[in-house]
Amino acid sequence: MALLLPVFLITAAYLCGRLLYGCTKKRETLPPVGETCLLGMFALLLLWEAMVLPAIKLLLSFHLLTQLYSVALLLMCGGGVIVSFRHRVKDQGKMEEKWFSLTGLMAVVIFAGQVLSFLFFYPDTTRDMTVETVITTLSSDLVYENHPLMGTTFLYGITFRGKLVSLPLFYAYLAQISGSSAVSIVYRLAPVMSLLLNYAAYSLWIRLFTEQGEDRRRKAAFCFLVLGLLNLSGSFAHDSIFYYLIHKGFRGETIIFGTVLPYVLYLCQRIYVHNEYHRFLFLGLALAATVPLTDVQRGLLPCLIVAVVSSLIALAGRIGKKVKRA
């Protein structure tokens, strides 16, 4: 079951992403798979957050919370299936041919090497208690009531801002529905998902860089190879995002700096350079999705900085153009 979890998560994220795309005015066009999965994953996390907060307030058991979330998830996936079905004919017309190249194969091998590292090497668990939180939640059936490192409520408290971070509870949910151990979910599945999301975010950049000109697929394959090599070669350097991707993939900060941040920058490019203003909705969703991932200083704030700096650059560019014309 644990092996099927990534497939289940990607499928659920894709369907939820299709549902979201169906809510925009651009629903007639086929969205990129990477972006659909990213948006879907953000939606899944936000839905989880929306259910966790009332559950904490009402002191609901974790078991009941997972049941309610599973129902909501099924409804969203059902909506996604309907949206996908309605645009099925148009989608098929736009399917691109399959491609194969030696560079592409090398990129896949590098990706597989990163995935294998999660299985064979110790993750960096310095000052981390994600697994303990997952195990405590599952064994106590309570949400953020017991101290993860002791298992008891001995003079222990967690702030409201701390309770907003629901990523460890999401891992607990995955462990509950799959019957897998917390260690498998946190140290194996979560880094794989984090890496996939990283690739999904950069696939959009690669698409942006290669959408014009010849040999698009060959260039894209080479870019994926560069991305994999960067992740591997940088993973030896402590305090770099590449190290976090390989050794701390289960942490919220890794998803923020490895996925959400590049995606926010990409969205700003699309909004201000290509005038795709419907993407403001996605930008809002991406910024909101930082809340369940990690605390505000490491999640929402850096993403806001990226959005604000990009907006200011775009504004300065437009003012500059008007001055030139005048």
């Binding site: 090398m106 003079l155 960067l230």
Partner: protein, 275 residues
């Protein structure tokens, strides 16, 4: 002045991860600047964003503020990752490979790029962080065998939870192994707060308990009393004391009676409740 220059250099190196990757980013930025006039607006915006972020993170006011208020925090380093290293490198490599038409040129370029990236990443592959796992639990084998035994004891007793007091090595991994093992204090006692939003108040007794357990040989009597006060079900202590002074094994730790030798240097004791 020299301190500030050092701080700028350090911040720039950290932003890329390694000096090589930072240098590669700088080269990529120059390449973007060189090619931006003939390029689309995408390149221009990426270039301007990268330039602004670079100038901010190496600016003296930024370095002064982070050095003064966030020194030692990981958040300080994480803000350096706002630099768009990967998009800049992807753009440069994508354009470079697009300019090559002949097959052998492309093959050579792919090999050269791979070598460049690997060498820029690090020059030392013996860096910390890569350690092979000993088992699927991601817990060192010695500790795991003790934890397995403690789990077995809990099951034998037919209890959902048992309160354990053990040396740091065991308590470090205990909650990562099984939810049924409760501990008298957590890792945050000796490491300090692990999460800034999670607050655990440890009283003086907990600190004394930690000090006594980590120097069990010198605190035989105290350990028995503290364990009794916490009403621990299981006590795991170093066995060195018994061999050194040839003391009788049972009841050495108050009401705790020796049951088993767990590992080379550990014994397991169980509380004997008076009938």
């Amino acid at each position: 002045m020299s301190n500030m220059l050092e701080a700028i250099q350090h911040a720039f190196t950290l932003a890329g991860g390694t000096p090589g990757l930072s240098a590669l980013f700088l080269a990529g930025l120059i390449a973007l600047w060189y090619g931006k006039e003939g390029q689309k607006n995408d390149t221009r915006m990426l270039f301007h964003y990268a330039l602004v972020m670079l100038l901010v993170i190496i600016s003296p006011p930024y370095l002064y503020l982070t050095g003064r208020f966030f020194q030692g925090y990981t958040i300080d380093k994480m803000y350096l990752w706002l630099l768009p290293l990967t998009p800049v490198l992807l753009k440069v490599f994508s354009d470079a490979t697009g300019a090559l038409k002949k097959l052998h040129h492309r093959v050579l370029f792919v090999l050269a790029a791979a070598a460049l990236l690997l060498l820029a990443g690090t020059t030392s592959y013996s860096a910390e962080g890569w350690k092979l796992t000993e088992n699927s639990s991601y817990i060192p084998e010695e500790t795991l065998s003790v934890l397995k035994r403690l789990q077995g004891i809990r099951r034998e007793k037919g209890k959902e939870e048992i309160l354990v007091w053990a040396p740091q090595d065991i308590m470090d991994y205990g909650r990562r192994y099984e939810g049924g093992l409760l501990f008298v204090y957590g890792r945050d006692l000796w490491l300090g707060p692990i999460d800034s939003e999670m607050h655990q108040i440890y009283d003086q007794t907990a600190h004394e308990a930690y000090a006594a357990m980590e120097d069990a040989v010198a605190h035989t009597k105290e350990i028995g009393k503290i364990a009794e006060a916490y009403q621990c079900d299981i006590l795991v202590v170093s066995k060195e004391r018994f061999y050194e002074e040839e003391q009788p094994w049972p009841r050495l730790y108050g009401n705790y009676v020796l049951r088993e030798i767990l590992e080379e240097n550990l014994i397991y004791m169980q509380r004997e409740v008076a009938k």
